[in-house]
Symmetry: C2
Subunit: 390 residues, 2 copies
Amino acid sequence: VTPRADAEALDSADPLAGLRRRFCLPDGVIYLDGNSLGALPDGVEARVAAAIRTEWGSDLIAAWDDDGWWDLPVAVGDRIGALLGAAPGQVVACDSTSVNLYKLLRVAEALRPGRARFVTQHGNFPTDAYLAQHVAGKCLDVVAADDLPGALDTDVAALVLTHVDYRTGAMHDLAALTAAAHHAGAVVLWDLSHSVGAVPLALDAAGADLAVGCSYKYLNGGPGAPAWCYVARRHHDTLAAPLPGWVGHADPFAMEPAYRPAPGVRRLLTGTPGILALRALDTALDAFAGVSLTDLRAKSLALTDLFLRLVDERVGLASPTPHRAADRGSQVSLCHPRAPEVMAALVRRSVIGDVRPPDVLRFGFAPLYVRYVDVWDAVDALAGVVRDVD
Amino acid sequence: VTPRADAEALDSADPLAGLRRRFCLPDGVIYLDGNSLGALPDGVEARVAAAIRTEWGSDLIAAWDDDGWWDLPVAVGDRIGALLGAAPGQVVACDSTSVNLYKLLRVAEALRPGRARFVTQHGNFPTDAYLAQHVAGKCLDVVAADDLPGALDTDVAALVLTHVDYRTGAMHDLAALTAAAHHAGAVVLWDLSHSVGAVPLALDAAGADLAVGCSYKYLNGGPGAPAWCYVARRHHDTLAAPLPGWVGHADPFAMEPAYRPAPGVRRLLTGTPGILALRALDTALDAFAGVSLTDLRAKSLALTDLFLRLVDERVGLASPTPHRAADRGSQVSLCHPRAPEVMAALVRRSVIGDVRPPDVLRFGFAPLYVRYVDVWDAVDALAGVVRDVD
């Protein structure tokens, strides 16, 4: 079996190893749940405290202009856009992923007014499924992943998909499915919550239409961090304002009686932006400074490869996660009939993952801060726990 | 004319004077814009820093249960409810006021399915107007304030009003208009953004139906703080889930494919709650500990009375704010044809208010931290500025 020394050697040779120092991680904890809540980046506490003390406390109302509060949704959006392969001016950071899903479902509907149907897949993340159902009603087709291309007929307005499956870690081919949908005349709304920050994305290059995602997983923006929406520039001229609030108005402080949408993605803004959370997220994104997403993806795959190999060698649990690298994101799931019990025992050994019903153990490998020895030690603990439970 | 010594005497005799020490206010600044962004309460910086460092940084994913994150929207909602005259279980803190307006407009629609029309008034806050227009379309009647009772016929589903006018400070009789709407079979959706924390409210006693509001004005929750929604308990059984996201599901972690609404107001939750902002707001509400809203209202009216009197004595600008105490909130507006210029000069003298088009100078008197001498000094500065400008 692979010895721990191999993992140590991989860490020694890892050009990204130093990035872990950009995070505050508790001693002795192996944190493999960054796919659910990213770890705390260094600098966030101080930056948010300063925003509270100086911007809010001293600058008060003037901070909206003087400290750049008003433009934060767009400024932070552009920084996220850089991780999405999106040129500036196509992303805003705001609201929750769920609220943004609602908005872009309505945008999708408005982009294809002559078409009634939405298509999604079985097992999509619940909030995506609920909101697609809410917007499309009886016009929602829920099909198996393999049947998606065949479901794209000329009555389909939009394909609504999560790029990386929250339960299995399986990853769609974003460019290929986007092209297939376009071939059928539909647009695609991608949920990139489990991709952004761990998987290189090239939305502009793929000709993507619409995307949403959260910022508290691999982007490490903090619990319930502001989410984001992307709309490709070619759709801006006809872009619907799906939740027309004052912040998305062309001239908010004119206080006009009727809504006039702001240009471009700003019209996706609705209410007053949450500044403290945007400051936290803005600072969190500094952890990506100078990082190549290609290098990050290579490390992510090396971590998950090592995990899958060690599990095969030492534990022998089945995994619904694709073994082919191109087909998975940055997490690995394992099946165990007593998954909650296994995870509770792992947590007692300071190995933190989570469970999803009915029988899935999830382990996320955030490549900015997870080490190869963490992988080895986690599987070592898992082997012991599974022996004890069985 | 009223001498400054009178204002000093009022401060000396003020039983609420000590509450100002619960805030961090910059030296030498007279802050009369708490109706737009409330001042920073003491303790918020430390509490948010601790939440970042300890809850997020150390407890990581376990904080959702161990640190009460999951219940914060309801816990904070109940604390706001206490300021609304609402029994527990009827308020959640979440999203922005605008998003919550959308949700409760849909709830109102669902509560009165046989009725097509919505009624609101000219000059409502823009976001309220835009969202009412968005939801009701051509079925929105926009009438003058005085014509509201007459507009309530049997086709009206909901009356949608802001309690205290953002521009003039005029305050509606919430109980009387609620009763009038009920008499016509309609429900009322109140926006209490410019009331809560400055005006005693008795939503349950008034038989109110629905209300929303922001938390960054007199509640001092910080820039873009989570907003809130109130739904009277008698409507809970038939309550629509207007933006059905995973956090409003009856069993979120069951990850069920179909939406089942959580009981009561929890179904108004949509996406993952913004924890850092909720922590800030939760701590900010400590500034109300032990404070009688009746006493707070008395001070608010005394402050605005003094301001109106001093302006009459020394400046002579017209005010659209009702002089009768029961008819106004906690702000006073003055008209000047060169309002932006006047306000800029005031700000240079460290007197902070704001302007609203076309000609309105706004001054907010947050009774938790504004002193009588602040009122005197502000009018003194205003008198000088207006002389210089004219």
